[in-house]
């Protein structure tokens, strides 16, 4: 049995492809940089900063001071006067859900928002 595509079929393929490419251009780009935030919890209070705005903060907790650096969509603790400096050795984090913790100072730095929970199943 021979199957012949009608001229309109090619139009359908072209339209769907065009829509897919357009949506790719329109939706994919902003989604990748979707508003992720840095939440810093110290002394039981939390402060939220956008991940996209570079800044350097001094955060104090339990007598220790951490230097938190937000730059180019990543967060790191560049300096700390706490004894073990695990927070500094954690390095940089950038993905939603990642954390830097400084136990001696009781400071928690988390990345929230963004695309971490886009894993869904559509029925």
């Amino acid at each position: 049995m021979k199957i012949k595509a009608a001229a309109g079929d090619l139009t359908v393929y072209a339209v769907v492809t065009l829509l897919a490419l357009l949506s790719l251009a329109a939706l994919r780009l902003p989604a990748d940089t979707a508003a992720a935030n840095v939440r810093i919890t110290a002394n039981g209070t939390a402060a939220v900063y956008p991940l996209s705005v570079p800044r350097t903060l001094q955060v104090t907790g339990a007598g220790h001071t951490l230097t938190v650096c937000i730059a180019e969509g990543t967060v790191s603790v560049t300096d700390s006067d706490c004894p073990d400096r695990v927070c500094v050795h954690t390095g940089t984090v950038s993905a939603a859900g990642q954390v830097i913790a400084c136990v001696p100072a009781g400071i928690l730095i988390e990345i929230t928002g963004g695309n971490a929970d886009a894993d869904i199943i559509i029925g």
């Binding site: 309109g8 769907v16 949506s23 886009a118 559509i122």
Partner: protein, 182 residues
């Protein structure tokens, strides 16, 4: 032999019930397919849509709409959740709109292949629109993947639909459409 009109009505009802059952069985079987077969969530073969398109070609849009919407209600009651119900309704509704538009505006320019591709893309887009409203607008980023997937799966079901529409003898089609005796 001349048959009475009440016989035809009964047969027509029975044949349309048959189509609904087929759509239900296909939905159920597809839900049982492990994700390993098609590793992208939300991507399905769409055999239930095959039945709906078949109904549109053989019986008309009213039957297609009835089969599609009843299938959605019944599968959601049996296997789904309130969330998946809205996904399915949105997908089915958009599919029916596209199906009706293509059948009415361009009945000869677009073959069953093109109709299936358009329906599959519409179905995925409709489901995603519901997901964007109910879950998070961020899922819209998934649209390109689902449109391309719809194109691929629509091609498969479209080829099957073309073969089916040609292979099924006119007497059987008449039985489905008007309830004539086989």
């Amino acid at each position: 032999m001349r048959t009475s009109s009440s016989d035809e009505t009964a047969r027509r009802t029975a044949f349309r019930g048959l189509l609904l059952c087929l759509a239900l069985i296909f939905s159920y079987l597809e839900a049982q397919l492990p994700l390993a077969v098609i590793p992208i969530p939300g991507v399905k073969l769409g055999f239930a849509n095959l039945v709906v398109s078949f109904a549109a070609y053989v019986c008309g849009m009213k039957t297609a709409a009835a089969v599609s919407l009843l299938r959605v209600c019944i599968t959601s009651l049996l296997f789904g959740s309130p969330t998946t119900f809205w996904f399915s309704v949105a997908g089915a509704a958009l599919t029916l709109c596209v199906l009706a538009l293509l059948r009415h505006l361009a009945p000869h320019a677009v073959s069953p292949l093109g109709v299936s591709v358009a329906c599959a893309a519409a179905h995925n887009a409709g489901q995603l629109a519901a997901a964007a409203v109910l879950l998070s607008p961020a899922v819209a980023a998934y649209l390109p993947v689902l449109l391309f997937a719809g194109m691929a799966m629509g091609t498969v079901t479209g080829l099957l639909l073309t073969v089916l529409l040609r292979a099924i003898p006119p007497t059987v089609k008449d039985a489905f459409r008007r309830g004539t005796a086989l």
